[in-house]
Symmetry: D2
Subunit: 348 residues, 4 copies
């Protein structure tokens, strides 16, 4: 409250807040009165409360707006998301080795997707990424092969044993995509497509939630909260670069500081996508290694058998050979921080 | 090309580009060679071309990526969007008076929406805005009354004669919303929901396309291009504030410079929303007047009979009385720039 | 304090804060305890207080960090800055007509600066802007003529009767610049050059303080506070566009919403610079008119006799003829809002 | 040039550009003409050239604006900056171990600075950082002890053998600071204080150039170019976080992608400051490790004997004990990537 607020006004405000189901508790100081609000404040708009009286100086939120996504929700413990794949369960989480997800931006044909799947699996990936439905800035760009690409992903899954991660862009496509995918991806442009979030929250497959182009940490966790509140407890968060003021060299600003920040706020596993995060394959290796050193639970990396001919995002894709080398570099860091999966020795 | 690029390499690159259907034309200078590309370049990714050879120094786009949205598409002329309403056709465009759109953030009940419609019509509005489906950051916030609110909008339309503008958030809702709405709104969070853009491009009602939170001008016009390419020529662009680095006072940064920029790039009409653009009703009047002085074709302003009790966005809503005063202030500017509708005198 | 904070810990924290000269006042609720802090909090770092105990959930600032710059400092009244010029005192402030400042980016030679001064004065300007010392991104660009240009500004002042506004970039130059200038400008890149702010705060000429490229409103007002606290009460704030994520068309994002925001926070007069704010002369007129409609106290506009040959910033400069037309357009808006200076009729 | 540009106009433009000392070379295609410009283009403003004719569609820069800072300037080789310290020469650069710089935000008294120097040296640091002159947002905050603190830094240097890095804020202070400092720091707020850049370019001590709050990579390298062009070849670049849209948790966005980007553009060594970059000590370790994994040449980390009592930036400071642990964690990554200094064994 502003200095000099009349007592009658403070009483009136308290009364009004009580009617809204809140419990206002006044603190009377020498110069100022502060009203603490206890109760269900998650859905309140601080600006709205300020409107109640011109004597209110400022309304400040102390509680976090998210609940199920919060670390407190699991009493401070890390969570994990377990995904079943043809080759067995894969665990995403702080207590587990870094999970590698790799593959092309879009599924182009059976040969390329099966071949890519085999190569990235041999290098150590557990999941194949690949777009059937592609969000493209231009209506004149290749939009993905759609439903037929889902069949190709299923074939690649069977051929390789990898789990499948693919994006859904339309509520009408959720069912057919979640039939094929092991993890359903919501892309950056749809992070606040609340209809879509509700729909993927109402199905069973784990959800990979990419951070929106200019989403705050709170907005991102609230988007996760939509899925969690919808009944689906399995959400993986993926940082893929935010919009910055300088896009001359890197296309986006990969915000690796989300790693320690999210760790303290949420129990959800965290994936980093350095391919979209930088937009240029030369920048991917150093950012991938940085992500592991900083504590990422998973990496998503674009790999294409022939980036120069890719129908989308070629410039940020690694060749399978470059991916092989990168995995070796990442392994050095992963082992150093104790987060690398040592393959069992083959016994002759 | 970089200094010292071998001729054989330049020939190889030209060959490869020709195979992609482009016509490369080399310019040979003393120090450098530049390759000009002529042809269908709208869907090309400059980064991809750069991948063709390490001798390529930089790939720069000269052509604009949008076509139907461009001013050239109408040979430099301004366009107009004509919307039929119960009270007759309303024209949005540079050659017409400023069109006022007003109403609450969300439709709460019949009494409030009909009452608001009557008040804003009396003040000079031609359209009623009001959300049936609401995009809310929190899953625990009021999400709009949905389908039942569409009925209330229809009632308010009939009672007042105003046209109706309301938001669609899900491809599954497009049909039922376009039955009731005179203009279908795509919100900022869905500006790059390409499934939704295609769907509203395939129906007949004009589309109000809000600018995404951090959308560049090109991305925004490409989103409009999705609707235009889908067969719907009636798109109105609406600036509603972009994400900035300082949100302590104004919630967003209202980017009024889009007015002269868009004028030179596109023939589409331009609306300004100072209510979302600032997030605080005290800031609305000065930004509304600025918008008219800068050449806006239309204004969208939130009005609520009792902002302090609004179920959403109360703090940025004007009361009907404040809206009355604002219209008078806007009229002063509107008349000064020759863009104000003088109501016909009533004859006794 | 976090839920469940031990009483002993709360006492310990209160004790520690008391030792720092603050008066902590606890509010005890059913679930939480809030500690209100009263006292000299302007210099406190909220993060520092949080460090005192892991039981502190969040530290929130309620008081504004600026004092002399605040509107409350003048009991809610608007301030004014009065500048003496050869032609008499000019008043900047809410209660006065809009003051026009015009001139070239940099002073190139005597003829051009005197000629420009005469033309902009004839059009209605009260001040001539022109750089002697120029901040340039590249060390290889023209850096301004320096001291010799100060002499040319003095000549233009005498010839035209206009006041002079010119930029200071180095503490070592403050004295010689304030001898010639009627208003000393601190540029955007030096907004947090605190040595310079202290130096201009210790001299007598009014200070024009441009907003930094990515300065928040609070940081800007704190920079003004440096000048005010240094003993110079005459500060004019100038918005010149902030850094945004899209610089393809407009170079900066002109943030006109500072007009209503600053009005509520400070008594200082506000100038808008649409030339730097957009970076392109075609965009200047609509933004200049918008600024007046939104309540600007002053406009700064770049005018150059031959923009195509200008040594700096030609593309954002108007020719004197275009400036003449713009003044007529601005006058229409200025008169409409009652902020235009009507020149006295010449009597034959 | 736009489609349909008249030949006479193209000739006129070429003529005009020739007069400006450039060599325009036209490329004539079927639909378009492109004019290539060869010559001294570093100081040209593309917008200015566009002004020459309305037939010019767009002016695009192909050459980089920086020269001495460019990697090409050293024929693609990495550079190094060698700094002499009491304990011998320290090398900053890609071919050398990671250099640790540590110390408090500001020098508070002799005991604390000498004690901190001893502790960070024991942990492995080669340089002591510590502010004598402090840039503070508020004029009411502690501004540093100034000249007397320089004496304390000299004492700490002698006592510990560490090199000294301290900030200069005023051209008038350059001489006395460079007498004491082994590396002179230009802070983020002064990155485009061109007077200061010229002054530090004209003295002999190596310069640590922090990136401005919202500086693009090109602007940052151009600021370095000022120092290099002034005759001082020893510049170290330091990323310290840029301004983002979400400052609720991390204060700035630490942009680690500058590591691979700068590597390809410049030969200058690169330092990362995760303390300012995040603003919170808990986030420092993961970002410090990420920086090393991504290829940083040096780390600057704030260490204070008692952060809770620090006169500035306490919350982002580590205690000496925490710094000890962090160095061990960093060593694991540093060794993994082959960039760690193995101390020689002491012989009994």
């Amino acid at each position: 409250m502003k200095v000099g607020s009349p007592e009658a006004e403070i009483n009136r405000i308290s009364q009004e807040l009580s009617e809204q189901g809140l419990t206002p508790e006044p603190i009377v100081g020498k110069h100022k009165v502060v009203l603490g609000l206890v109760g269900e404040t998650a859905a309140l708009d601080p600006r709205q409360i300020q409107e109640i009286s011109p004597w209110i100086e400022e309304v400040l939120r102390v509680e976090k707006p998210f609940k199920r996504a919060s670390r407190e929700y699991r009493h401070g413990e890390a969570g994990e998301v377990v995904v079943s794949t043809p080759d067995g369960a894969v665990h995403f989480g702080e207590q587990h080795p870094v999970v590698l997800v790799a593959g092309p931006c879009s599924v182009e044909n059976e040969e390329m997707i099966v071949e890519t799947a085999r190569r990235v699996k041999a290098a150590g990936a557990k999941f194949l990424r690949g777009g059937a439905y592609k969000p493209r800035t231009s209506p004149y760009s290749f939009q993905g092969h759609g439903e037929s690409a889902l069949g190709l992903l299923a074939a690649a899954r069977e051929a390789s044993g990898l789990g499948i991660i693919t994006e859904v862009m339309d509520t009408a496509d959720v069912d057919k995509i979640s039939e094929v995918a092991d993890v359903v991806q919501v892309g950056a442009r749809n992070m606040q497509n609340f209809s879509l979030l509700k729909k993927v929250g109402a199905q069973d497959k784990p959800v990979l939630l990419k951070r929106g182009m200019s989403a705050t940490i709170d907005e991102w966790l609230m988007a996760a909260e939509y899925v969690l509140a919808g009944g689906n407890p399995n959400v993986i968060l993926c940082e893929r670069g935010v919009r910055g003021f300088d896009r001359k060299y890197a296309r986006n600003t990969l915000d690796l500081s989300v790693l320690p920040v999210l760790r303290s706020l949420t129990h959800l596993p965290i994936m980093i996508d350095p391919s979209h995060g930088t937009g240029w394959f030369e920048y991917v290796p150093s950012m991938a290694k940085a992500a592991i050193a900083a504590g990422a639970d998973s990496l998503m990396i674009e790999v294409h058998p022939n980036p120069a001919k890719a129908l989308s995002d070629g410039p940020q894709s690694l060749t399978p050979d470059r991916f092989d080398s990168l995995v070796q570099e990442m392994a050095v860091i992963g082992k150093a921080v104790g987060r690398w999966h040592e393959p069992a020795m083959a016994i002759a």
